[in-house]
């Protein structure tokens, strides 16, 4: 039952977009799209995606290789630091750069900010793959007369390909959905355009038409991801390696590599953090809104906490259906939540506004609706963690439990839940982190008078009160750092920090 509800909820935004777009004639649609210079938006998005993704691949793969395979100094410390940009919301990173130098804007600014914010999406799966590869493969390569570089190019890189491509798709989906950072950087994308349209007075038809284009692009990307996943099995043919790698000695290059990683960390975490600190100190002399900051923190904690609880609880039955009871029906439900992965926050938010104002005025502008939107947005994230955990807890354990005379609930309580506990925790952490730093949907859906850290930060930033915005950014980053560390350990980079 819960699973069906979840599936329906996830499809709501898509129904909304199609419904809205279907009211328009073809000609009218054409004119509207033309007015928004859709081709400029597409080319903007494409240009940014390609450039930022390429830079992210280079940074992510190089950093992953150095941390996993080389004797670069402090590799374990770097292993942790390199994940941290994920704890800094994109719009905070954008604010940090722009407030340091107002000259940073447009295409080059967007590339700069997003590359340093998104390279962990390549870095993380690359680390996971590198630490899973069987060292024997590379040893065989060497024994066949290949040099280290040839081994990397011909044996390691092909195996990393899936991790890299998967990371690229995640980056692209993020780029498409991001509003705050591009708004600060004054770079026009679909999402900023839709938002502007909405702010101008909710021109439903126009905004939803743009949403439709955005959605189509996202779903196409998702299809690519799906195809990759289908072939992913080939990446892990031989299972976990029994032995550990001997680290590559870099010699003199050791310090160059160290310097490189240091610069990467400085640009990706150092700049945002020091900028926040700078404005904190500066802003201290002016107005420090301690009371409203406290209220915003409390609101954020409550919202993120409830979203994490509800989403994880709902992910459990869906994951169960998907992993344990494969059928056309369960695949359908899983797929519908999976499609939601491609839904930008703005589309979800507009859909909820649309349905609430028409059919459920009572919940419009309510916390309930806001949390429901968070659930739709972040359920796919929670599902990934819960499904992975369930898949690793063999069904035969549950069967043995039943054969020993224990019913469904006892087995769930005494066998399954203890085994997937870490996965549930990771799912909750992931949702908490994402909710605490969510801006786009929160701006549209939060009840009047409700201010979260993100929206509080946003209202000051748009008023160019960088000093007043800084405390909000600081609390947000501090709040998300904890789940981010939990996550990075769970997602496999934990092996880097603890192994060998």
């Amino acid at each position: 039952m819960a699973a069906i509800a979840v599936g329906v909820l996830a499809l709501l935004p898509i129904v909304f977009v199609l419904l809205q777009a279907s009211h328009l004639g073809l000609h009218e649609a054409g004119t509207l799209l033309w007015r928004h210079r859709v081709f400029e938006l597409i080319s903007n998005t494409l240009k940014l995606t390609i450039t930022a993704t390429l830079f992210s691949i280079v940074l992510g793969v190089a950093a992953a290789w150095l941390v996993c395979r080389s004797d670069v100094p402090f590799r374990r410390v770097f292993g942790m630091l390199l994940v941290l940009p994920l704890a800094i919301p994109d719009f905070v990173a954008g604010y940090a750069w722009v407030s340091l130098d107002p000259g940073i804007h447009g295409f080059s600014g967007a590339v700069l900010v997003t590359t340093f914010a998104y390279y962990p999406f390549v870095y993380l799966p690359a680390v996971a793959t590198l630490s899973r590869l069987d060292p024997a493969l590379e040893e065989v390569g060497r024994s066949l007369g290949l040099s280290r570089i040839q081994v990397f190019r011909r044996l390691v890189l092909p195996q990393l390909r899936l991790a890299i491509l998967g990371g690229c798709i995640v980056i692209a989906l993020h780029l498409l959905a991001e509003y705050g950072a591009f708004s600060i950087l004054r770079y026009r994308t679909f999402t900023t355009e839709i938002f502007a349209e909405y702010n101008l007075g909710f021109d439903g038809a126009s905004a939803s038409l743009l949403s439709l284009v955005l959605l189509v692009i996202c779903v196409v990307l998702l299809g690519g991801d799906q195809r990759l996943r289908g072939r992913a099995s080939y990446a892990s043919v031989s299972g976990a390696p029994a032995r550990t790698y001997t680290l590559v000695r870099l010699g003199k290059a050791r310090f160059a590599a160290f310097g490189g990683l240091l610069v990467l960390v400085a640009l990706s975490i150092g700049v945002p953090l020091s900028s926040i600190v700078y404005w904190l100190v500066q802003g201290n002399s002016s107005t420090l809104p301690s009371g409203s900051l406290l209220a915003a923190t409390r609101t954020t904690l409550v919202l993120a906490g409830s979203a994490a609880l509800v989403t994880t609880a709902l992910a459990l039955p869906v994951a169960f259906l998907a992993v344990r009871h494969r059928s056309t029906f369960s695949a359908l439900i899983e797929r519908s939540t999976y499609v939601a992965r491609a839904l930008p926050g703005i589309v979800v938010a507009l859909a909820f506004v649309f349905f609430a104002t028409r059919y459920a005025a009572a919940v419009y502008q309510s916390t309930f609706l806001l949390i429901a939107a968070y659930v739709v947005l972040f359920l796919p994230l929670a599902l990934i963690a819960v499904e992975a955990a369930l898949a690793q807890a063999p069904a035969s354990l549950e069967e043995v439990g039943h054969s020993l005379g224990k019913g469904r609930l006892t087995v769930l309580w005494k066998v399954t839940l203890p085994l997937i506990g870490p996965g549930l925790l990771a799912a909750a952490a992931l949702v908490f982190l994402s909710t605490a730093t969510e801006l786009t949907a929160t701006l549209i859906l939060s009840p009047t008078g409700t201010t979260t850290l993100a929206t509080g930060f946003w209202s000051y930033t748009t008023g160019l009160s960088y000093g007043a915005a800084a405390p909000y950014a600081a609390v947000m980053v501090a709040l998300s750092a904890i789940p981010a560390v939990v996550l990075s350990r769970y997602l496999g980079s934990g092996r880097v920090t603890s192994a060998t």
Partner: protein, 344 residues
Amino acid sequence: MSEIRIAGLEKAFGRHQVLQGLDLVVPDHAVAAVLGPSGCGKTTLLRVIGGFEAADSGRVEIGGVVVDDGRRQLRAEARRVGYVPQEGALFPHLSVGQNVGFGLSRTDSDRDRTVAEALDLVGLGGFEQRRPNQLSGGQQQRVALARALAPKPQAILLDEPFAALDPATRTAMRAEIAAVLRSIGTTVILVTHDQAEALSIADLVAVIVDGKVAQVDPPKELYANPASRDVASFVGEANLVPVQIEGTSARSALGTLTLASEAGEATTVLVRPEQLLLEPWDEGASTAAGRVVSTMFFGHDALVMVELEDGADPQLLEIRTTGRAPEPGERVRVRVEGSVVPMA
């Protein structure tokens, strides 16, 4: 009473028909081995009996109670059937003692004693506090068996219990587990693709071919009188020799052979490798003449391939010999010992 009766069992996965009208009766207290090549449906059979899969049609009875009639299934937890999956599947988050006690009632005052007894039975007394990851593969398997035995089930199902063990451990475990299974007097069904395992442990061996039981018999009977060529060649090594039947004897390239049973329409006979005796070449002897094609030496014995010189079609024979292993190319004499089984 915990006899297991299976009649007309059918089960398909998608378009793949795995079980095709399978019939099998395992009497109370018997240890039955279900033997068959991989993919023949033996694991599916076990899972249907255990209640982890539902039958499409047919009937499964345990101890006189119908647990699955192709429409309604008794839940797995209500069947009182112990299950030992491949590789044991111990609960990794529980200690050995908690694993073994899992199926016992929480209020059972004898709980600790029952756990201790079950562990004693499998030779792991005092292991209660260990964690599963501190045990060897063989020990894990024995804990899994103790866990299945502790609630005193009507029957025990074992799915390839020794497959994950290394060969040396496997032989020792096989003897140990066979002794345990016999001592508890429970009905046991063990699934395996290893004929030596089936023949050495079980009272009764059921050979499954294409989702049906091809033959059920005690091990010796099965080996001596296989019902079909499939069974003959799956259970032990088999030489199938073409013959011409003449009353109670048969003429073949191996000379005149004595038949073990009524010939019927048979055109071939089954000759086991150990029934064939290799003799040094003797020009004047009356036994069949052959030439050694290859020799596989195992230490305690050797498997020799011999091509017979008589007969229209060249006939290859597998011969197991414990004496001197002849070299390829040598000429030898082949004598048949005992009677042979006619096969249709």
